[in-house]
């Protein structure tokens, strides 16, 4: 069977002949990606884009040599520029700089290769079963045993060996896949290490632990934020018995890289890498705010449908992200985090409290730029 991907009886032609959007996803009739955006750009916009790229090049220096210096000197300029979007041609490099994964790579020469070639993982079968089910509509990942699928497998396997406590968790494939569209296998691997184990900060630390306790915590915090910022909608969700795990778990598990308009995923990731998990809360709130007036009138079933299929206007990054940043959530998240942990420790104070490190350190601790090489974060 080397049929690539076919809906029922339609025999798929060779991949390159099928129309793809500007990110390489095969177009469907109701494609969610606004293809027009690039084409309709005026010369004025082109010039602006070029100026932006020049600014960014200057900011990061040759091969990223000036980045750290610039971030230390003008963190707010960096933050502002990242929120406006990293130029696509520099995105892969900048993501590695922001996350600190570049340093990990340089400090660990040959490690990735060893993991891929010599180590075996107990998760291999599980990974294999998901490989052809990760971005199946993207040309890079579509070909069975093609370069895309091979890279995806290598990165996931290597990580499952490197961090045996976490191993492989469904959802990681979408993150690895997203990264592989912008960088090499080895770079993608170290970026995942940076996300989960920490380099500059570790925005996903603990996320994939058994039982996904952190996801449960985030969902709980998100529910509270919805009620606080949009009481009417919060009440409506309660009346309709909708809880956030029904629609938002994949937002947190994959940081919007699963089943979400790709142009928006990229912009969310730009910010996520610099500012941390709070942007997932902000974007989630912004989506709900944008569709608020429709959502409050929908019954259970349509509500669930709408929460999985946001209208195109809602997913335009230049509309949604400013709305997202208008939600000030940092300090409230820290409070909710404390409350949540206190509640867990409440009746039966157990060792589980150790799992929950203060959210503060995950949200915005950029102070230490140590490269952590401790093999086991969960034992901290």
């Amino acid at each position: 069977m080397d049929k690539k991907k076919g809906v029922d009886d339609t025999e798929p032609g060779p991949a390159p002949s099928r129309p793809v959007d500007r990110f390489g996803f095969i177009k469907t009739e109701h494609s969610n990606s606004p293809e027009g955006i690039l084409k309709s750009r005026s010369t004025h916009e082109h010039e602006r884009e070029e100026r932006r790229i020049r600014k960014w090049r200057k900011m990061i220096g040759v091969g990223g040599s000036d980045w750290k210096h610039y971030v230390r000197r003008k963190p707010h300029v960096v933050k502002r520029r990242i929120r406006k979007g990293i130029p696509d041609c520099l995105r892969g490099l900048v993501w590695q700089l922001i996350s600190g994964s570049r340093d990990l790579l340089l400090m660990n020469p040959g490690v990735y290769e060893t993991l891929v070639i010599y180590e075996t993982s107990s998760s291999e079968l599980e990974i294999i079963r998901d490989i052809s089910r990760t971005f199946p509509s993207h040309i890079f990942f579509q070909q069975r045993h093609g370069p895309g699928q091979r890279s995806l497998y290598n990165v996931l396997k290597a990580y499952s060996v490197y961090d045996r406590d976490v191993g492989y968790v469904q959802g990681m494939g979408f993150i690895a896949g997203l990264l592989l569209l912008y960088m090499s296998e080895e770079d993608a691997f170290w970026l995942i290490v940076a996300l989960l184990k920490g380099a500059v900060h570790s925005p996903m630390e603990g996320l994939y632990q058994a039982g996904l306790p952190l996801v449960q915590q985030y969902l709980c915090q998100f529910e509270k934020l919805v009620t606080e910022h949009m009481p009417k909608l919060g009440q409506h969700f309660q009346d309709e018995m909708i809880n956030p795990s029904m629609y938002a778990s994949q937002w947190f598990i994959t940081v919007f890289s699963y089943s979400f308009p790709f142009h928006l995923t990229l912009r969310v990731w730009d910010v996520f890498l610099y500012e941390g998990i709070k942007v997932v809360f902000q974007v989630g709130l912004a989506l709900l705010r944008f569709c608020h007036d429709d959502l409050v009138n929908l019954p259970f079933e349509q509500l669930l449908h709408s929460l999985r299929n946001f209208p195109e206007e809602a997913t335009d990054p230049d509309t949604l992200l400013p709305l997202a940043f208008s939600f000030k959530v940092s300090s409230r998240l820290v409070e909710l985090d404390k409350e949540y942990r206190k509640k867990l420790e409440g009746p039966s104070a157990s060792s589980s409290s150790k799992r929950f490190q203060p959210l503060k350190s995950r949200v915005m601790s950029r102070a230490s730029s140590h490269v952590s090489s401790s093999p086991n974060v969960s034992k901290k």
């Binding site: 079963r129 018995m241 029904m246 079933e301």
Partner: protein, 203 residues
């Protein structure tokens, strides 16, 4: 499959459980949309679908929760199977490990679930006869011993997909005659069921 207009509609919450790649999403997609995709995107979290089915003079509206198969997501499953009127435990006939996992789900349902939940065992990928690892007799015997009803299905060829949902609908209607006809939705006791669901968060 279309619902007859004018008759009673009963809501029934159904949950699909089973190993990674057993074909849970594919079964749902075949039933709900009549489609099959060779490489169905992995399910992260859970996904919701609905479909109605006419059984003699009544209509059952299935509210279907399709769950993620990986063990790591196990802790999220109870909120979907609690309060479910029916559960379909899916395994892949060409994968013995998925059958073992299916048995674990059955045990969990028996221990934690509602005793009135109709449990179906689906041996999916029945088109893969050449690579079969789970014998039909073995599964049948297991199902009988555990009070499940059993079918081999193929989401790819559509074999027994509508049938398994039809059988569930029939059993639900037989098992629980309408006690409150004007309400017309007693099967899933919706409000209670959802209270349980939201309680599993933090409210």
């Amino acid at each position: 499959m279309a619902a007859n207009a004018g008759n009673k509609i009963r809501n029934a919450k159904v949950v699909l459980l089973g190993d990674v790649g057993a074909g849970k999403s594919s079964l749902v997609l075949r039933f709900v949309k009549g489609q099959f995709v060779e490489f169905q995107e992995s399910t992260i979290g859970a996904a919701f679908f609905s479909q109605t089915l006419a059984v003699s003079d009544e209509t059952v509206k299935f509210e279907i929760w399709d769950t993620a198969g990986q063990e790591r997501y196990h802790s999220l499953a109870p909120m979907y199977y609690r309060g479910a009127a029916a559960a379909i435990v899916v395994y892949d006939i060409s994968n013995q490990a998925s059958f073992i996992r299916a048995k674990k789900w059955v045990q969990e349902l028996q221990a934690q679930g509602n005793p009135n939940t109709v449990v179906a065992l689906a041996g999916n990928k029945a088109d893969l006869l050449e690579t079969r690892q789970v014998q039909i007799e073995e599964a049948k015997t297991y199902a009988q011993e555990n009070g499940l009803f059993f079918m081999e299905t193929s989401a790819k060829t559509a074999t027994n997909v509508n049938d398994i949902f039809y059988e569930i609908a029939k059993r639900l209607l037989q098992g629980q005659p309408a006690q409150n006809p004007q309400a017309g939705m007693v099967l899933s006791q919706r409000p209670n069921e959802r209270v349980v669901s939201s309680a599993s968060c933090c409210s």
